[in-house]
């Protein structure tokens, strides 16, 4: 044993090269700690001398630029404890005969089977080859080298350690690659699952929104349709199409404009967007097609990805709205011309008769005449009011940003004669914001509410009218309060209906359209109107709330 160790000492190249490695460190200008982590080498031997010799042989050795960190265990038991504390041991130089004849071999099993450490390199160094014959242990145990203490020298130790550590390094890198690969495979798996889910969601979303998608290859003239697109076109799911087949399904008079739009989009490489009708069985559907082209290598459009939206319901609603608007227009025109014309005849000739007969009429006859004339006059006023009512939201000025206080002032100016005549006291309060309304309609609403407050007054009491404005939670709130006749409980619902009057005509003139008009105006602005009153003779408050859009442009 001693002789071996002597030889080790003499041939130790690491000792002689120590100055060289110092120079190398200086040249690099890097501190040893920054050279990279040390390779951990576990020396397991029950003989202190062997440790000393190995320390000497491995002093200042660098493997791939990294130093060694030697751990010493004097028994297999100590080695187990160190292996637990240091999971990253690269190499074990292992004696076989220690606390037992096979302590070293048992440690190998422990490392490979219990710790499941397949990467650490194990080199057996034995002084008694009889206890662990080389062929037997190399084949039965997972070890990476076998050295007899008798044949060891510094060079051999160096070579063994270097090659073992390089192997360890390769194994580690290999494991890292494998882990990385594993990680990527898992990521890919997750991504595939997510894709599967989002595809399922897409299919659901397409069927809910009546939007389908498709791809079209301009080179092969092949069209692939999503399930929803198939549903919209009434073809079986998974069906494929082509340009000609698509065109055949389009309503003939829509084909030319569609082809023109398609040609232009391809020519200019722009987004294709077109609405047209298609024939599905016995019915016609309206679709909106939007498609983007992706360009091939020659920068000519190659494949295009498109969406198909079924807009049949919207188109039908639009047509229905157009139709009912036109009908309403004809209806109002009929009121203003066709109904008023004969009425005007009745009224005109009654007046002429009245003028002609004049003095010849007596008491009751004169009264009959004035009833008839008055009735005709009132009917005409009602027709005019009804015409006004039907015009709300259809004709007149478009909505605009205006100063609400300016509208109020205009209303007050207009009402000035009536207000003066009634002796009304007006008080205006609150914050008057800029509002987004149809100015002419808002003016009428204010005129009606304030006019009513002055009109429906109690006999012998001058009207006191409070007009206030505020802004809260995105709404413009308007209140007109009076000390007038009030509203009988249970009549509030009738208040806003056309031609409903809560007061006798003999006391208060009017057509019974004013508040209905106010409600229609409020509702056309997306708001509402309501009345509050403690009861008959106790005054009323009319409240209007209109949404206030955010931010004037």
């Amino acid at each position: 044993m001693t002789a071996d160790l002597d030889r080790l000492e003499m041939d130790d190249p690491a000792v002689e090269d120590s100055s060289g490695s110092d120079i190398w460190i200086d040249e690099s200008g890097t501190a040893p700690s920054a050279m990279g982590e040390a390779w951990k080498v576990l020396l397991v031997d029950d003989e202190a001398d062997v440790h000393a010799v190995l320390h000497l042989a491995l002093r200042d050795v660098l493997v791939d630029g990294r130093p060694l960190h030697l751990l010493d265990a004097r028994s297999a038991g100590e080695a187990k404890a160190l292996l637990l504390a240091h999971r990253d041991v690269a190499l074990i130089l292992l004696d076989v005969v220690m606390e037992s004849d096979r302590a070293g071999l048992d440690l190998v099993r422990h490392v490979r089977d219990v710790l499941a450490n397949r990467s650490v390199q194990i080199v057996l160094i034995t002084g008694q080859p009889g206890y662990a014959p080389q062929r037997e242990v190399v084949s039965d145990y997972e070890i990476n080298g076998y050295r007899l203490k008798s044949e060891l020298n510094a060079d051999r130790v160096y070579v063994s350690v270097c090659s073992a550590i390089r192997t360890y390094r390769l194994i580690c890198e290999h494991e890292a690659l494998q882990r990385d690969l594993q990680h990527k495979v898992e990521e890919l798996d997750r991504a595939m699952r997510a894709l599967g889910e989002s595809e399922a969601n897409l299919i659901r979303a397409q069927s809910v929104a009546h939007v389908g998608s498709w791809t079209y290859d301009l080179m092969t003239d092949e069209m692939h349709l999503s399930a929803e697109t198939c549903r919209i076109f009434g073809v079986r799911e998974g069906a494929r199409g082509n340009y000609r087949a698509y065109l055949a399904q389009v309503v003939p008079e829509d084909r030319a404009p569609l082809e023109e739009a398609w040609r232009l989009a391809i020519e200019r490489g722009q987004t294709f967007e077109h609405e047209h009708r298609i024939v599905v069985g016995a019915s016609v559907r309206h679709v909106r097609q939007i498609a983007d082209f992706s360009c091939g290598a020659d920068s000519r459009p190659g494949v295009c990805l498109g969406t198909t939206q079924d807009i049949t319901e919207r188109k039908q609603a639009e047509q229905e709205l157009k139709r009912s608007n036109a009908e309403l227009e004809r209806f109002s025109y009929a009121i203003s011309h066709d109904l008023r014309q004969p009425l005007r005849m009745i009224s005109s000739y009654l007046q002429l008769l009245d003028a002609h007969l004049g003095d010849k009429l007596e008491g009751e006859q004169r009264e009959f005449f004035s009833f008839a004339i008055d009735g005709a006059r009132r009917l005409d006023q009602m027709l005019v009011a009804l015409l006004d009512y039907s015009r709300v939201g259809r004709l007149g000025e478009p909505p605009a940003w205006v100063d609400s206080r300016a509208i109020l002032d205009e209303a007050l100016l207009f009402l000035q004669p009536a207000l003066a005549e009634s002796g009304a006291q007006i008080s205006v309060q609150g914050i008057w914001p800029r509002v987004f309304v149809r100015p002419d309609e808002m003016l009428r609403l204010l005129q009606n509410l304030i006019g009513n407050a002055a009109k429906f007054r109690l006999a012998g009491r001058a009207p006191e009218i409070g007009i206030s404005s505020s802004v809260s939670s995105g709404h413009w709130h308007l209140q007109v309060t009076d000390n007038g006749v009030g509203i009988h409980q249970g009549q509030k619902d009738r208040l806003f209906h056309v031609f409903q009057r809560l007061q006798s005509r003999s006391t208060f003139e009017g057509t019974g359209v004013g508040l209905a008009l106010c409600r229609k105006i409020a509702e056309h602005h997306g708001g509402r109107i309501w009345a509050e009153s403690a009861g008959d003779g106790l005054g009323s408050t009319f409240c209007v709330a209109l949404p206030l859009p955010e931010g004037e442009p």
Binding site: R340, Q341, L343, Q351
Partner: protein, 153 residues
């Protein structure tokens, strides 16, 4: 302004285009009440009025050119707007002033009538005295203008 009686030997002529007999009667009454000195030719719709002005058909061979046209808007066969447009397109007729008489006070109708070249627009009031006064004065004005020497043809 008074009518220059020497401007023309014949009396002034008004062409009334009106399908409602009751309305036609009111027009006659208004002219009479306002002492408008004019003869009245009465046709029932736009097509008949054009035939009159162009002397087409046996009944209008000897029709006289009117100095003023009073036109209702709401008529069968050819309504007032179509008639007005046709008159203003016709170089031989466009010099005759046309005053529109209508039940409608809709801004759209008033604007269309003036746009087509109407000389005036009277919304028929439901007060007969207002109608007679207003309409009579307007007719008198246009008739006077039409009969001034520069307009005489």
């Amino acid at each position: 302004m008074a009518i220059d009686s020497t401007a023309s030997e014949r009396p002034a002529l008004i062409l009334l285009v009106e399908d409602e007999a009751a309305d036609a009667h009111l027009v006659r009454l208004a002219l009479r009440e306002n002492s408008v000195q004019a003869d009245l030719a009465h046709v029932l719709d736009g097509r008949e009025a054009l035939a009159y002005l162009r002397r087409e058909g046996p009944s209008f061979v000897a029709a006289q050119r009117p100095d003023l046209i009073l036109l209702d808007l709401n008529m069968p066969r050819m309504d007032g707007f179509e008639f007005l447009a046709a008159v203003k397109r016709d170089a031989g007729l466009r010099g005759i002033p046309v005053v529109v008489l209508s039940t409608s006070d809709a801004e759209r109708d008033v604007r269309s009538a003036y746009h087509l070249g109407a000389a005036g627009y009277v919304a028929k009031s439901s007060s007969v005295s207002e109608l007679i006064a207003g309409f009579g004065r307007l007719s008198q004005y246009w008739l006077t203008l039409a009969r001034l020497p520069t307009h005489g043809r």
